[in-house]
Structure formats: C-alpha cells, structure tokens
C-alpha cells in the first residue's frame, strides 16, 4: 500500500484533514512527520498541508521552509518524488524554491472561505491529476488570506510554455474570467506544478472535499490519481 507523509509545522491546521482524507476516504497508508524530523523514512508521496505555519510571521511559509524536514522534502522532490502543497503548503513550496513565483495578500484584503470551481488547465498529467481530463472542472473550497499568486511576465510565460498551469479558477461551466477570480491571482492561477511535474502547489483544499457530507467529494480525484500512480492500479 502506498504511503504518504503529512508534514506538521507549528501552526499547521489542515494536517488532520489531509491525514483523514488520505487514510479513511482514499485508503492509503499515511503518517505525520514533525517538522523537526530529518528523515522521511520510505514514503511514496509528501503532503505539505495548509495552516498558518509559524503564524505567517515575516511572510507566509518563509520560516517553515527552513524547518529541518524541508531539506528532506526538497531532496525527495528533486529525486522525482510526488509532493503536493495545499494552501499554506503551496506558499511553503514557493518559498522553498520548489515552485516559481510568490504569494501576495488577496487583492480585496479579505480572508476568503468558500467553494470555488477549478478547471484542469494542463494538458499533460501530473501524479495528482492523472485521472482527470483536460478542461474538467471540480468544485472544492478555498480558505486563505494570501492566495494572490504573482510571478514575473517572464515566469508566467515559462509556466504557459511548459504547461505548468495546472488549475485555474473558473465558473461552473469552466469559463475563466476576472469575476470568478477569488483573490486577484494572475491568469486566474489556482495551482501550478514544476517542470518535472512531480511537485504540485494549489491554494484550494482537495482534502476538505473528499466526502459528500462536506458539500463536495470532488477533491477525491486528486488523491485517487495519486493512489493510482503509486499503486499502479
């Protein structure tokens, strides 16, 4: 059975949601890894969960990225291991340099907590989207105050050229427009991957949408894709 690590920083608050979703909804093995650890110990994938690591001091994710375990996560990612950063986890991966760009406060300055629609923009698969089809939309929640993704024109062009823009905010019909952009993110970007495609960062929370009683189970396809890649089923 494939095994995932959920990294826990002081201030992580979606670690248990991720653990529960992966273990009980999807059926993979999972363990928590405290940020002071210096080894990941034979895991097949890493989840960097949401929250407010180190109270968002200095910048979101800026201090967590220097936690001892992050060196291991970087090494794991460079070797091709599947890594997903969700919300604050995405911010940490940006600060760690595993993904390009940076995160600004939401344009409207409000914390946004609501359901959004996402469109799979990328044509090329990632370990987290292999069961999805390009253009497919899913409905999962966001909950963040700093999800306004920014990057230089040059970086944005590279992201486009390499098919690294994985998710964009859209309406229920999959149409992309400024009106459905919840935070001011350039190009309605909700999630991107690295050039090797094994590292995904996304602001919306698939782990909070794995059971219909939570309003949506559309997030399951992200973890089911991972399971399918890792277990070859």
């Amino acid at each position: 059975m494939a095994k995932c690590a959920v990294i826990v920083f002081p201030g992580s608050n979606c670690d248990h949601d991720a653990y529960y979703a992966v273990k009980h909804e999807i059926g993979m093995d999972v363990n928590f890894v405290w940020h002071k650890e210096t080894a990941l110990n034979d895991v097949d994938a890493v989840i960097v969960p949401g929250g407010f690591s180190y109270g968002d001091y200095l910048r979101s994710g800026a201090i967590a990225r220097f936690s001892p375990v992050m060196q291991e996560v970087v090494t794991f990612a460079r070797k091709g291991g599947a890594v997903i950063g969700i919300c604050n986890g995405f911010q940490i991966l940006l600060e760690a340099g595993l993904l390009p760009g940076a995160m600004l406060p939401n344009e409207h300055l409000k914390f946004s907590c609501k359901m959004v629609h996402l469109k799979l923009a990328a044509a090329t698969a990632t370990p987290f989207t292999g069961l999805m089809e390009q253009g497919q939309t899913i409905q999962i929640p966001i909950a963040h105050g700093e999800g306004n993704y920014t990057a230089s024109e040059e970086t944005l062009q590279i992201l486009k050229d390499n098919d690294q823009i994985v998710f964009q905010y859209c309406n229920p019909l999959g149409e992309i427009s400024p009106e459905v952009n919840p935070n001011g993110s350039i190009y309605n970007i909700a999630g991107i991957c690295n050039t090797q495609r094994n590292v995904l960062g996304m602001m919306p929370h698939p782990e909070r949408a794995c059971d219909p009683i939570l309003g949506s189970d559309d997030g399951r396809i992200i973890f089911n894709s991972l399971k399918s890649v890792l277990e070859g089923v």
Binding site: I63, L104, N106, G184
Partner: protein
C-alpha cells in the same frame, strides 16, 4: 556590534493591496494630496562585526536568504550606528 536597518519593499511592478486600502482611507480623511501609498517593513538587526562594511554584508546575506523574497520584494540595508558595550 552594529545596528542595521533592513527596509523591505514590494517591487514597483507588484500591486500593493494594503497600501491601496490605506490610501483610500487617507483620501476619506481628506488627505487628497497623498497620491500613492506603498507599505513595506523595516527590520532592525544587532550584528556582531568588526566593521560597518562587515555588518552590512551580514545583513545583506540575511536579507537575501530570509528577510526578503526577491521574487516580489526589494531590500535596502542601512547601518545606523555602532553599539558599545559597557
């Protein structure tokens, strides 16, 4: 020992929603002559070093590594004074 100040500011190309909100509030208060507000942060460091130049290098390294994110921020280091123990 030297005291350094690191000024971290958003790059000019980056929108500053907090600055914009503050500017709006200033306009509401009647300060119409204030045409732009950009918010950054100032970080004070006490640095063990023999010379001001050495302290500056240390502060710049700290800024590059952690205090500023050069994807969206610029920084400037100023050595403000030499600290004496006694």
């Amino acid at each position: 020992m030297f005291k350094a100040r690191v000024y971290v500011t958003l790059k000019p190309s980056i929108l500053d929603p907090k600055g914009k909100a503050a500017q709006g509030a200033l306009h509401n208060l009647g300060y119409h002559k204030i045409k732009s507000v950009r918010i950054g942060k100032m970080i004070e460091l006490d640095i063990e070093a023999d010379t001001a130049a050495e302290a500056k290098v240390a502060a710049e390294m700290a800024s590059r590594k952690l205090l500023a994110n050069e994807v969206m921020e610029d920084f400037e280091v100023e050595i403000t004074k030499e600290l004496h123990h006694g």
